[in-house]
Symmetry: C2
Subunit: 414 residues, 2 copies
């Protein structure tokens, strides 16, 4: 099988001065991986023409596809288009169809046409480029060819980039390359630190056939193992997956490229069940994660974030005696919170979180990172405790992730 290589280059100061996280590249890398490309490198560079040109030299010399994002905005600090044109020895020309697109876009957005100089400048393209129209923004997409490498320049605004990549650029890639998707499976493993999991899998990993490649993808609360076959033998992967299940059993709690909120959502939807959440230490994150899945309103009825004891009593019906006896971060309160959410929203299931996210609030017996998660399943109630780290945001993320994985586990057991 032909394996094509790719580079992703992000242009602009926003990333270099740390103002934004480069989420575009991860999205593109994931897309390219699944389309069958091997991404060799991701670079974020300034929009200095010499920097762009030198980076292009490198990327064109080593990869079959170069994707550029950013630097196409209407403001003066965006110089990518001119640098690209110079690199390919072209002339900038006004593209009338692009200008029509821009006009139509502005009319749609504002209700009337008000074209400013900055907008007109966006219709300038290189005469060396193949231009793809951008149906949802004002920056056109340009494609160039050099030394057998395809170079595609796209806007940097994430939703715009994603839209034009999916709807315009992918079709072009299929014309240029004979793409074959990677054969792979991804296993979501819970309950192990990375080093212990590696230790447990050492023998199995050493015995893997040459063509198989294993990657550890740790994130707060879960380690995903991605097993990829270089020559696309699905059979090889399946044989090894069977062995992996023999070693890890139910510690493999899900499979697939999707995040856990998709898996949980699918189970709820398929079984026509509803869920609600009662949050303390996650402050809304658990509900946010569940509702980040399109169509979540079919199963998530709602949630209550109760930071204070008063709110836990009044909104979730937690007993003041329970709070007094056990404290807010306790098994008993986690259980009463879960029951309270299920009752408030009249749902089949409910998840609750109560813990000490940090950085303050820890005690000798309940240090920062102590978390109780409660689970309500049509009348049955459970709770589990965890000790996470001392980082507030990591504790919140980990609590939300673990809560969803364990809910899936309880659902399977029940």
């Amino acid at each position: 099988m032909a394996q094509y290589s790719a580079s992703i280059i992000t242009i602009g100061d926003e990333i270099l001065i740390g103002q934004i996280v480069d989420s575009n590249s991860a999205w593109l890398a994931d897309y390219l991986f699944h389309a069958g490309f091997e991404v060799k490198e991701i670079r974020s560079i300034s929009d200095q023409p010499e920097h762009i040109q030198q980076t292009l030299d490198d990327a064109i010399a080593t990869t079959d596809l170069v994707l550029l994002t950013g630097g196409l905005g209407p403001t003066n600090d965006d110089r990518t288009k001119f640098a690209l044109n110079a690199y390919f020895n072209g002339e900038m020309v006004l593209n009338e169809s692009v200008l029509d697109d821009i006009k139509a876009f502005i009319v749609k957005k504002r209700g009337y046409l008000k074209l400013i100089e900055n907008n007109k400048a966006q219709a300038l393209v290189s005469d060396k480029a193949t231009v793809l129209r951008n149906p949802i923004g004002t920056a056109p997409i340009q494609m160039f060819n050099k030394s057998g490498t395809l170079i595609v320049s796209m806007p940097g605004v994430p939703f715009e980039m994603k839209h034009v990549f999916e709807h315009k650029v992918m079709a072009e890639l299929h014309k240029h390359f004979v793409l074959e998707a990677h054969a792979y499976r991804t296993f979501h493993v819970v309950g192990y630190p990375e080093s212990e999991l590696a230790n447990k899998l050492e023998q199995w990993e050493n015995d893997l056939p040459e063509s198989l490649e294993l990657a550890y993808l740790p994130s707060p609360g879960v380690i995903r193992l991605r097993l990829k076959d270089q020559v696309n033998h699905t059979h090889n992967i399946n044989v090894q997956a069977k062995k992996l299940y023999e070693i890890l059993g139910s510690q493999i709690i899900a499979e697939g490229k999707e995040k856990v909120e998709f898996t949980l959502g699918k189970i709820l939807k398929d079984n026509n069940k509803t869920i609600s959440v009662a949050e303390s230490c996650t402050g809304g994150l658990l509900g946010h994660r569940i509702t980040s899945v399109a169509g979540a309103s079919a199963y998530l009825k709602g949630g209550i974030t109760a930071y204070s004891n008063e709110a836990k009593e009044k909104q979730l019906g937690v007993n003041s005696a329970t709070l007094e006896k056990h404290g807010a971060v306790s098994e008993a309160v986690a259980k009463e919170m879960a029951i309270g959410a299920a009752k408030a929203f009249n749902t089949n299931y409910a998840i609750s979180t109560t813990g000490i996210a940090g950085p303050d609030g820890g005690t000798e017996t309940k240090p920062v990172g102590t978390v109780w998660i409660g689970f309500y399943l049509e009348g049955e109630v459970y709770a589990q405790s965890f000790l996470f780290t001392h980082d507030r945001m990591v504790n919140m993320e980990r609590t939300a992730t673990v809560a969803m994985y364990n809910m899936i586990d309880w659902l399977r057991k029940s």
Copy 2:
């Protein structure tokens, strides 16, 4: 002033196959910017030794500081340490103090000592490196010198990297470099698309003194303008800031590097006021953003996410007649939701969100992206409507951001 340049290199397949977003680099870039460095490039590369070595060649040739993250985990797919040692022509040696740290770390984490081979391997370091101890993990930090460039290798786990960078590496940077923080101000501007803002500021921007550099930092709901002086003349910046306020007035809604949740939190804390949230289309994100600030429990009492009409009535006391007459996405419902949250949690202020996040649920009169945000201020109630994009996650983020900025605006007006 000496201006030092830096590169950030992230090693490992996780980013290249799109499994994780490189948030480390943005965090480091922000930190380096404020410390006075200019970040020239951020690269994510594989852990192939030749790739690491070639990238180091480039980075050392062009920058004064090279920060490496990742590739130090205990699993077999982490090869950075050996590649670095080979690059600097060193020998790997077992460092006993690092081994002691690892043992102590494991005892603290598990309660007893169980050292596996993978852990021992983490105590191997290059004899060409200056080793910094890692107090919160098992991977040591190594520093190298070459051709006047300082190279620092750190673990890739975000909270571990941040901790060692802040507590160990920064002190070393102050020893190696004469650092002077950048002179800059950041203005948060709301209410303009990027192209219109650029148009409005064109004359002012063209007239800026040579030493001033302007960057547009757009994100959902706000554009931040960063004005930096290359030669650290705070005076120059202040003169231009005054002009900027004359042009934009109250559209500049905040200043500073912090996100809006910090600004809102500070106002509430300073005035000893409390707040609650009632969320529909943001599904918990608004509460999560507010509680992401350490110490938020002092002012955020809680929140209710009510997806269904039934929950809006039962949990927030929205009238069924209002829902029937105006629909859930309406000014009247947004107002009643805000009142309901303030009542439920007994707070001074409340914010509500109700809208169509998408991708489904849009109608002719209320397309996807239609959002109403309600504001309750000690008895007064307001609501504002917005039309955002067709991307679910962007709509959620933008709604949460705009809700907080506008709450600040209402607080200032009241």
